[in-house]
């Protein structure tokens, strides 16, 4: 899966949680979920669950801890998909 497709899909996943719609419009690999998109930290677990569902993968606790931005999400999902 190419990076652009992933970012597009991730944008839709985080859309309901993102309080900053402008940052969502310009989402890129350096976008931070909490600082840029203003996602409530409690909702990060919901984002992870939605990502798991979308790609049919399981994200471990340690991975969840570092899945705080788009690049980290991309790395984790790519690694999981390659394992399949």
């Amino acid at each position: 899966m190419d990076k652009e497709t992933f970012i597009e899909q991730l944008r839709e996943i985080v859309r309901p949680y993102a309080k900053n719609q402008e940052a969502l419009a310009t989402i890129n690999t350096s976008t931070d979920f909490i600082n840029d998109l203003k996602i409530n930290s409690a909702n990060l677990v919901d984002v992870v669950l939605d990502v798991e569902e979308k790609y049919d993968i399981v994200i471990q606790n340690e991975e969840m801890e570092r899945m705080l931005n788009v690049q980290a999400a991309l790395d984790i999902v790519e690694a999981k998909l390659n394992e399949k």
Binding site: P16, Y17, A42, N43, V45, D46, L49
Partner: protein
């Protein structure tokens, strides 16, 4: 501090009407909100009818963000937030911008919270999927979920809590709010209570056989307080909300005043003298009523209207007897009495607040709402109270003093005295 306390805002999500305008019209016309419930039938309940408020998606969207709705499966939180925010707006109060409103709080009761969310969560945990509970399993199922939601939406900076005392919950919340304002700890408290709907709340009542199973084919005739053919409660749900405010604050804001809260009493029968987990000790009920009158500084002879607890079980006649003893009034001398449950069923932890909303409307607008389904008055009640005092038709009548009582499992009682407020 001894502030006078008034009601300046009302909100309601009831089986026979959502919003004050619809509810007010329904209780004047004697419209029943009891319907046949296919889910209860499919689950083989004995009682297959219930009172469930209508809260369309479009209405929910006015009070909740898209994200909240995506995750919300607590009907009690939906009902309570809508009723609470309606009451706040009705009082002409604003939502706090950046700084919390330190003078305003909420005491919003519940029997339990988010039973449907709780059920989902239990299944996930048992399927070894605890990690998939999501971020809102706690906030929807903590009993204080409703006050937490309201506190955040309105920006309340005073006490934000949830009380719980079975079917007295709603009346208790109003009395606790009254005291907090009276003693100067807050200027405004959003009081009220909510109750989830659905089989997982109502199942226990079905199992106890306190819900009627004789009226599945005639839902609107099922809830029959004071009737000779009363055969049990009809389970209901919803929320009622009342903004209580110090008279000084209300006058300063130029707020509309529905009624004044003169006082009241809360007690328990200790599950003694005939009282039990599920039945009231009559001495405690009578004491609660007389203490409420005393605390409010009014005479029993001056009460114009009683809004009873009156659940449509065999206990209604006992309640009437307790009122007669406590007030020392009977026959033609008995106050008018009505039972809102005849139209909405027993809304459990929400019953007291929904019924208090009805009482406030009757004081403000000067009417006595009709009792439906008691054309065959119970002979034990007929022996105590003149038929004319239990109106079956809407009466337009100036009501000055009203007494409202609620009783609950655990042998707990509450009685509140409200007075019409004459606004200059």
């Amino acid at each position: 501090m001894n502030n006078r306390v008034v009601i300046t805002g009302l909100g309601v999500v009831a089986p026979n009407g959502t919003g004050i305008a619809a509810f007010s019209e329904a209780i004047k016309k004697g419209i029943s909100g009891i319907r046949y419930d296919e889910q209860l039938a499919a689950l083989k309940f004995s009682c297959q009818i219930a009172g469930k408020p209508d809260v369309p998606e479009s209405l929910q969207q006015q009070y909740f963000e898209e994200l909240e709705l995506k995750q919300l499966s607590s009907s009690g939180i939906i009902y309570g937030v809508i009723a609470g925010m309606q009451a706040w707006a009705d009082a002409g109060l604003a939502i706090a911008p950046e700084t919390p409103d330190w003078d305003s709080g909420t005491i919003f009761g519940a029997g339990t919270s988010g039973v449907d969310k709780f059920r989902e969560s239990v299944y996930k945990v048992d399927e070894l999927q605890v990690r998939r509970l999501g971020s809102t399993a706690v906030t929807q199922t903590m009993t204080s979920g409703i006050s937490a939601f309201l506190g955040g939406k309105l920006g309340l900076g005073n006490q934000v809590t949830t009380n719980s005392s079975a079917c007295t919950t709603g009346a208790e919340s109003v009395l606790m709010a009254y005291e907090r304002i009276k003693y100067g700890h807050a200027k405004r408290i959003l009081a009220g209570s909510t109750s989830d709907s659905g089989p997982y709340i109502w199942g226990g009542f079905d199992a106890m056989k306190v819900s009627t199973f004789k009226f599945n084919e005639r839902p609107e005739a099922a809830s029959r307080p004071m009737s000779a053919t009363a055969s049990g409660i009809v389970p209901g749900s919803g929320a009622g909300a009342l903004v209580l405010e110090s008279l000084d604050s209300a006058l300063e804001r130029g707020a509309t005043i529905y009624a004044e809260v003169l006082g009241g009493n809360i007690n328990s029968g200790g599950q003694r003298n005939g009282g039990s987990m599920t039945a009231p000790n009559p001495v405690a009920v009578q004491r609660c009523i007389t203490a409420a009158l005393q605390q409010a500084g009014v005479q029993a002879a001056d009460i114009d209207l009683i809004n009873g607890h009156l659940t449509a079980t065999g206990k209604d006649a006992e309640e009437i007897a307790n009122w007669c003893t406590a007030l020392q009034r009977n026959g033609k001398n008995f106050p008018y009495i009505n039972a809102l449950k005849s139209m909405v069923g027993h809304c459990l932890s929400a019953s007291g607040s929904i019924e208090l909303v009805a009482v406030a409307l009757q004081l403000k607008e000067g009417f006595v709402s009709p009792n439906i389904n008691c054309e065959d008055l119970h002979p034990d009640i007929q022996a105590l109270v003149d038929r004319e005092r239990i109106p079956e038709q809407l009466l337009y009548k100036d009501i000055n003093l009203a007494a409202k009582a609620s009783f609950g499992f655990g042998d707990v009682n509450a009685c509140i005295i409200l007075q019409k407020y004459l606004q200059s």
